[in-house]
Every structure is written in C-alpha cells, then in structure tokens.
Subunit: 333 residues, 4 copies
Amino acid sequence: MADIPHTNGNGIHTMAREFGEDRRKCCWYEEEIEQDLRMCYALKSILHTGASNYQDITLLDTRPFGKALIIDGKLQSAEIDEFIYHECLVHPALLHHPNPKSVFIMGGGEGSTAREILKHKSVEFVVMCDIDEEVVDFCKSHLLVNQEAFMDSRLQLIINDAKAELEKREELFDVIIGDLADPLEGGPCYQLYTKSFYESIVKPGLNEGGIFVTQAGPAGVLTHTEVFSCIYNTLKQVFKYVVPYSAHIPSYADTWGWIIASDEPFTANAEELDKRSKQRINGENRYLDGKTFSSASMLSKIVRKSLAKETQVYTEESAKFIYGHGAGHNNHA
Amino acid sequence: MADIPHTNGNGIHTMAREFGEDRRKCCWYEEEIEQDLRMCYALKSILHTGASNYQDITLLDTRPFGKALIIDGKLQSAEIDEFIYHECLVHPALLHHPNPKSVFIMGGGEGSTAREILKHKSVEFVVMCDIDEEVVDFCKSHLLVNQEAFMDSRLQLIINDAKAELEKREELFDVIIGDLADPLEGGPCYQLYTKSFYESIVKPGLNEGGIFVTQAGPAGVLTHTEVFSCIYNTLKQVFKYVVPYSAHIPSYADTWGWIIASDEPFTANAEELDKRSKQRINGENRYLDGKTFSSASMLSKIVRKSLAKETQVYTEESAKFIYGHGAGHNNHA
Amino acid sequence: MADIPHTNGNGIHTMAREFGEDRRKCCWYEEEIEQDLRMCYALKSILHTGASNYQDITLLDTRPFGKALIIDGKLQSAEIDEFIYHECLVHPALLHHPNPKSVFIMGGGEGSTAREILKHKSVEFVVMCDIDEEVVDFCKSHLLVNQEAFMDSRLQLIINDAKAELEKREELFDVIIGDLADPLEGGPCYQLYTKSFYESIVKPGLNEGGIFVTQAGPAGVLTHTEVFSCIYNTLKQVFKYVVPYSAHIPSYADTWGWIIASDEPFTANAEELDKRSKQRINGENRYLDGKTFSSASMLSKIVRKSLAKETQVYTEESAKFIYGHGAGHNNHA
Amino acid sequence: MADIPHTNGNGIHTMAREFGEDRRKCCWYEEEIEQDLRMCYALKSILHTGASNYQDITLLDTRPFGKALIIDGKLQSAEIDEFIYHECLVHPALLHHPNPKSVFIMGGGEGSTAREILKHKSVEFVVMCDIDEEVVDFCKSHLLVNQEAFMDSRLQLIINDAKAELEKREELFDVIIGDLADPLEGGPCYQLYTKSFYESIVKPGLNEGGIFVTQAGPAGVLTHTEVFSCIYNTLKQVFKYVVPYSAHIPSYADTWGWIIASDEPFTANAEELDKRSKQRINGENRYLDGKTFSSASMLSKIVRKSLAKETQVYTEESAKFIYGHGAGHNNHA
C-alpha cells in the first residue's frame, strides 16, 4: 500500500491527476465484432449478470455508450444509440401503413421495439412474443426507459416460440415485426427467415395492405452479403414490394440493415412521412424522419449492385449446420 | 519445445487444427478510436515501420482490412475500404464542376487522392502539396495501387506547407481539395480550417465557378459535433453554397464527413452525376455514383439539426492550446 | 433482442452453453506491467471505485486472483496471493528479532501488514502511519480479512507523512517496516529511500538490535536493477548487516524483493526460524517458513552479481525529475 | 493523409515525439496464460509464420522479451530469458552426474537444450529426437544462437516419436532429458509422463547411475498442482531419488518446474556443483550455479506441502479425453 507524502508544488501532483484520468480506463468490455476484429469499450461497472435457459444476460455500464445489454457475449442494445436501431425498425413500417392498429413483434423482449410502436396513437393492440422469459423479466426490471411500455395496457406479452404463436393465432395484424437474431445456418432463428415461413405464416398473418418489417443483419460495404442481401432476395420471392434500408449504429461498429415488405406499394415520400409522424406519433423521433428514411433507403452503389445480383433464397432445405456459426456469429437483434 | 507423437485417429489432431485457426489470431493492431473505445485488428504482418521528421509511419497487413497505413498511431487508409474515403473526397467536387482542368491537393501524400483525380479525363494539371517528404516516399514505394498515379505526367508533387504554397502560387485552380488532419485546437492543421484561411487563401485560389472540398472529420450520430458541424459552419461564412455529406468507413469505425463549397450552386442531380461519370471518368467508381451522393448528402435528422444549430466558427483567435489534443485525437485524413 | 426458438436435440444448445462459458470472459481489467507488457485479468465485477486527495482507489473482483485492490491503476494486493507479499514483508524481520515489542509501519494503509504483525504474541504496540485517510477508510470497510487487525487495541493508526511522523516521535521501535511505493526519481516516495533518511531518521528510530525491513520493488531476472539493487546498496551504506530476498508473486507478474537491515547479524537459521514461528505466531503462515526464507534469501547468480556490482546510492541530490516516472511506473507497494 | 505544417516552437512537436513513443506500442502479441488471464507483449515485428503437420510456428520480435518462438499460440522460448529455462533443464542433471558422456533429448527441436548440453566437455554423443521436422528446420534457420549447436558433430538429430525411438535404441544413456509439452490428459505428450513409460522405457534406457530430468510444467504458488506435483509423485514411484526445483521465467508469466530423478542419490552440494561447472563447462552459465540450484530446489512451504500430499500417479489408464485441454492448455515445453 502506497504512503505518499505531500507533493510540494512542483506539478507532480497535478500531472498524476491528469494521468489518473487515463489510468482509470483499466476496465474494459471486449466484443468480437468478427473473428479478427474486436471492439473494446471502457467499463464503468458491471450492473447485473445472469443466465436464462437460453442465454447469458449481462447489463454493463460502459463509458462510450452508457448502459449496454449483452446477450451471449454480444452487445444487443446500448443506451446512447439504441434509438437508431429501434426507430429504424418500427417507424418506417408503421408510417407507411395507412392506419396501423395491430402489431405483432417476433422477439423484442428488451421492450424497446414495443416502446416505439406504442408511441403511435393509432395502435390499439401489440403482441410481443419472446421465447425467453428471464430476458424479458431482466429487461423489465433493469431498463427503466422501457418500463412505461411494459405497463401499457395495449401490450400483450407472450412467452412462446414466435413461429408457433403466429401460426396458432386467429387474428390478423396490420404490421408484423421481426426483431430476431440473424438467420445463421444452424442458428436458432434460421427458420424464421425462410421463404416458406414468410409465405405460409407471415404473409397469411397480415391484414390486407399489411406490412412486414425485419431487422436484416449487417449492411455495411464489407458485410452486407453475410445475410442482408439474402434476406432481401428471399422476401422478394414472397412480397410484391420490398424496400431495404440501412443506418450506421456506432455501438455495433457497423452499418445495420432492415427491410420492409408488402403487397401494396410504399408510396409515401419524405414530406408525407413527416406529416404522418406529426399526426400519429406521441413525442418526436430523434433519428428517423422523412429525409432520413429517403437517405437510408437509397443504398450505396456497391450495396445496390450486390442486392441486384443476389440469387440465394433461404429455405428450410438450404439450412445445414455450420460449425460455430450459430453461436459465434454477430447476432445483434 | 514440444515433441508431439503421432495422433491416433481420435480426432485430436483435427481439432488442434481447428483451434489453430483461432489461436493464430494472437497478433493485434490496437487503435484508440476515442479515449474509451478501442478497435483491435488481427495482424498478419508488420510490413514496414519508419519515422519522418514529422510523423511515425507504419504499414501493416491486417486480417480484416488488408494493408493499412498507420501514421502516428492512427489508421489513415486501409486497402479494403480506402476507396470509400477517396471516392467521396474527390468525385463529388470534380463531377459537380462543369470542366475541371486543374486541381490542388493540400496534403494527400498517400497518393490515393491524386489517383482518383487523375481518372478524370478533363484534368490537365494536379498539384499535390504535402509537407512530409518521407511519408510521400514511403507511400510511393509501398502502395502499389498508387504507383501509376505517382508516375502520371499531369501530377506535380511539391514538398511544402500547403498554406505557404497556395499563397505563393500565381495560377488559380478549378478544384482545391483539403486532405488534411482534423482541425484540432493546438493541432498542426488547425490554421488550414479557419475562416480567414478560406477567405484569404482558398477562395482567391479558385477560378470562377471553382469548388473547394475538404474532409471534415467524423460525422456519426455521436461524433459529428467534434469538428464536422463547425467546419460546415465556418465554410458557410465564406462560400454561398455548402453541401455536407457522409459515409460509413468500416476501418475508421465511424461515419466520416466531407463538405463541398462554392459560390456557384450545386445543381447536378443523381442522373446528371451518373452521366458525367460515364463521360469523364476512366474506369468505374466502386462506391460513389449519383444515388450514393444523393443519399450521402441527405443527412439524418439528428445530424441536420446539429448543423443547423452550430454557431462556432474556426478562427485563428479561437485557437488555443488544449493539452494532448493535437497528438491524441482521432485524425484520419 | 433475440427470440430463440426451442432447440431440437441436435446439440446446438449444449454447445452454446459451452461457448457461453468462454464468451462470458468479456470483461477485463488491464494493467501495464511495463510500458510494453500488459496483464489482463478477467473481471467478475467492479465492487467499488473512489478517489482520495492523493490517489484513485478501486476494488475489483477478478476471476484469476479474487478481490483486488487497485490504486492509481496499479494492482496493490490480490486476495489470492497477497499473503506472499505480506508474510515476506513482516515475518523475516520479526522472527529474526529476539523479542519484537514495538513496530512502526511506514504506509501500510491496506491493513494487511498490520494483520501479519499482530499475529506475533510478543508485539505490544504497532504504529501504522499512512498519509491517505480515504485509502485507509476504504480498506477498513471493504477488506474483511483485515477488519480484526484494524480493531486490535495494540494498533495505533496515524494519518501523516511517515517521515514527519517518525521524526517527531520520541519512542524507539524494535522493527520499522517500509510498506511504501517504489523510490522512483520524481515519485512521491523517493525521499523515504535515501541514504540520509535511513541514516538520520530510520536508524535513530530503532532500539538497539532493531531491524529495518522494506519492500524493495521488482527483483526478477529482468527487473532487479530498476530499484532493488540500488535500495540494497543504499542500505549497505547505513547498516552493518543487509539481507535481500525475493519471491514470485503471480498477481504482480514478477518476482518481488524485500530487504532486512540491522547492525546486529541475522544468525537464525531455518530451524531456528521455524521454532520461533511456532512459539511466537498465532496461527500458521501459509508461505513463509524457515526453508522458504533460506531459499528466498539465496538469490540467483545473475541477481547476486548485479547486487555485488551496484554502485548507485539513493541520495536527495541524485533525485531528479524524470518525465512520467512518478506516475507511470510499476509501484506495487 | 495528414499534411502537417511546420510547428512553431511552442513545444507541440517535441510533445508529439514523446507521445509518439507511446503510440507506437500499437501492435501486440496476446497470449492466454490461463482462460481468464492474458499477457500482452508489444510487438516490433512478425518475423516468420508457418505451419508443420503438427503445429503452427511463429517467430516474433517482441519489445519486452526480444525474439520469441510461438508454437500453437503459446510462447515457447524468448530470446531474453530462454537461458533460465534451458540452463535449469540441462545443467543440474549433467552436473550431478559424475561423468556424463551420452545424452538423449526427448523433443528439444528448438536446439537450445542441445546447445546447453554441448557446452559440457565430457559429452561425446547427444541424440535429439523431435517428431516435427518443420519445427526443427524452422529453428535451425531462424535461431542464430543455436546454429553452432545444430552443426556440432556430437549431435545426432532424429525425426521420430521419442517413445518409439528410445524403445528401439540399443545403447544406453547417461542422461535422458524430457523437453516435452505438458502431460495433459488427452494431449499428445501424455503417454511420455506415465509411470509405465518411466518404468519400462526411460529407466531401462539409462546407464547405471544415470539421471533423468524433465520439465515439469508450471510450479507457481497458484499453479503447481496442475501437473508439477503429479509428475513428481509419478517419478517417486519409479526412481529412488527425486528432486523437484523451480524458477520464475518472466516471459512465461509464471514460476516453472523441473524434476531430476535417479537411483543414485544427489550428493553434490553448491560448492561441488560450482567446482564441476568450472571444470566441465565451456563458458559460464548466466543463471544457474550451485547456490541458485540450492535455492531453486528448496521449494516454498506451500509447494512443499502440496507435493508431500500428492497421491495422483500418471498412468495410461488414468488418461481420459478432456475437451479442449490438449489444445488449449499452457504447454510451454
């Protein structure tokens, strides 16, 4: 233990303080973005750790991104920028719909997707169907920003496999939202991204004019062919109108992708989206408005070319087990 | 030293090979994106290290991004995605100009900016003015992709301070390009981003209808107020038309910004830009086309709001020395 | 948020669990052992963080070493192996003394040094003089293993500069113990390692036959010339008998050194030390016994040679300010 | 690319140089000492990488430890301190033997073990038997310090499984040296540490009065029960006299263990060992002399107690496959 005598005005002390600032960055959360790329976030504290039957759950307080929810070693959602992911997932679909009243969320146990949906005054009924009760309970207790959403009487929370639930439900929905892990071969969510699932369960679950939207994995210049282009191509086999879009999410260290799909065309332009936002949404979006969506849905040349050339379609048959993928891949969802 | 007897068909050997794949990722290049955020890139090899009078220079071969040029501990340019940065820096300015013949590059010693400029058939004369001869020589020898550009007879390479050079030159330029480190207070490039520099040296150095473009630092949702918004506001004091735009660059782990400025309006739309590209550019851009620029220049709501509210202007007077900033900050340029 | 359907007996789930084990090692405490050598300890949790007027204080729970006290970014003491450091610091001096009744600790605010001293039945009076009240209070509250020691009526706790305190005290001590940061030039403890301090304050503070012991910094094959050899040589100028010894401390990632010094010879052999241990110490040491001390005080050839050749003596005059050393160096103490 | 104007005497430049020193430490070699403990060594360069049929081989130039040989992601030998490991492995056995003429090395392809043996003037014949030809060739070409040894006419280099080779050889040896990976269950070297191997192959391969020595894994306070205590106990079943000893090896981040065993007692004391060293060894040891061995073979109380209590014996039968151990464990050897 150090016993440090008084410093004597020669500046040592002050400097030590300044370096101290640096030195305190000695606790880190480390994530493998890819096998050969890591991101390290300075840690303030480890708030909670736990495990469900399905997943390990950790809540961290990070210096660069605030509170961060980590599931199975992957950052799912960071306080400082989760609004980008969740506004992009929810509002384009709901705003393009003329009058969305009922919404089904596949996954979404964190509560942020429900929170964004429930800002829409038109919405009367939201089903959130997540398989992992412990994760839902963990988020209910620890993510204060979503507590109001979890208490909203319009929200029905179901613990079940989303596919089974959607199949057995008799009512139809105006919007169905896929807030799931990526469709990795061998991974647990693969079958929720296949052509047959979209065809025989999702599309029949929509009301006329209904819209389906799904998170669609990394969509960066270097990563958009991992799953984004293939989800796009698969949805094109099933829906008449399919619009991919993307946004950079700092805490994911990548550009992320989403895709909206419908049998009705997406005709609302930036001004119309802004008008609808004002009329329908309680409060104001931080990230997404009409122009932002116009920009986000105009992909860069290199991504547009890949999407146009993509021929792979996700089917049950093409699913084969690939070592480590289901567990090791980057499944922010 | 391990002496390992023959394995006997029980799978140990195969597994060792598979783990070997993982274990070989034991050499890493680590960069502090911010003080509390690090990116680690698996290393294949350290190709060259050196130091000029001004800077430390390293050429690495990284697994995720290929060859990477590191200056003073900051990744400047990575083989796999430098085309995004350099196409965004060069082509919007040259394509918006009706007939660019002469171009002045402040900095740019890596050669990639010159390479993109020299693809334009209209260009007759390019001055590249970099202060660091060793960096230029290093890049000339080691970056094969730019060797043709360095040999192009239209390129005049000057070793000098860009401000001094531009001031003493008598000829005017159609396009001036700022490919400099960020304008950090106390940093070496600060004075090349001030209102007075733009007013008394850059603008007078342009032909009528001339266009100025500069890299403008990080432009992500969390980082655009560091310098991007202020460069934008400073340029607005000097030029009639100012257009900021941005793109996510994976190896920078952020969205990056550039700004074009002129006293003539930027009227070319996406189709016109594509038409000009076809007519004027040898070969084909990989990242930037008309739609990409339309998307890149339509900033997200949160960034647009910050830019609209920005009041700071860079002036010589506002420059004051801030401890460590000049050296420690993120100056990809 | 991932919604993961039931896995279907194909082993994915089990594997995910196994990988989960690995993936949970995503929080790390990182320490710079030297400028180009780092040790990273997997973190369970960050128990407390705080700052005194002098130092930053953190209590971590690490996977490899249990609870660890970090001061100014340096691991001071880890639950799992602090007994090595503290038994080596305290028992050789007290056991070699024929009948130690009074002990003065310079520093030692953590409480572990006092704890080891108070195990000696002969000890009637211990002064612990640490300058940093917050550190002492922090350790009192959080280090349960030392709470009994802090409550012991034989312990007098003084908050003061050790030099000033020792100077003004009128009583003499049987043993004086230096539990201080390393004597880095420009560092805060430098003056507590000088020849003049030993000569005019420490030695006069000892009773006849009294023994002085000090921690003496890293003593590994590669590190023993940093300060260990010089403290040894300085003590040789002042005391007739000086015995250096060392032990590997896993959580310090190095072999550590201590030195006992007296004007009486150290005559007790291994058997005698064991006999005295049994008679005088309540409980039993885990690390240090007679043979361990014999081994620890028989240094390896390469270290013995350096110590024999050392000519530097710490004096007030030789202290000069070296950039960064006071703050950045490895000062486990 | 940064263009940096002349700095103007305000000290920025000098400071940048100083920080540059720090910033250049951006390339690191990272090793998992244990699953939850990592050591990171700053890298100067990656000299060579390759792979044999058995192992991945890398030669690095590290800042703290000089050139380092890495096999399958584990540091085997570092320029700056490999002399500790190899002097401890070789000289105690050869010096305790009255007149060692023939020596058999199991493993040892790096060449350093042979180098130390060949310093003994009495030695007439050394067999080095390593299974991995590529590793041997790699070390022959790249480890200049061992080139003389590889050319020594007394050395016979055999590429074979050490067990098979020793079994078929008809001549007996004065000293047999085990320079092998640790005896991990399921690992490739397990069978070279079993009681039956020692009994039926090693002991019969020794001349009368012959000595066997083996590296024996980590021997630190926290790690000596991993394999050290069990190798010790296994050898005690087979040989009359067994002496364990240890030394801290900085680049291994641990204290390491070796064990000598014979049916003749080890009677030479420190003075005798020093006398023999002078007579028999060309040149002078840096680490090991008589006193060093006395100290190294006097283990600390906590280690002595574990060894005394150890009951496990390595047998072929007790070998069972444990997931990942053979590949992932810490096998410096």
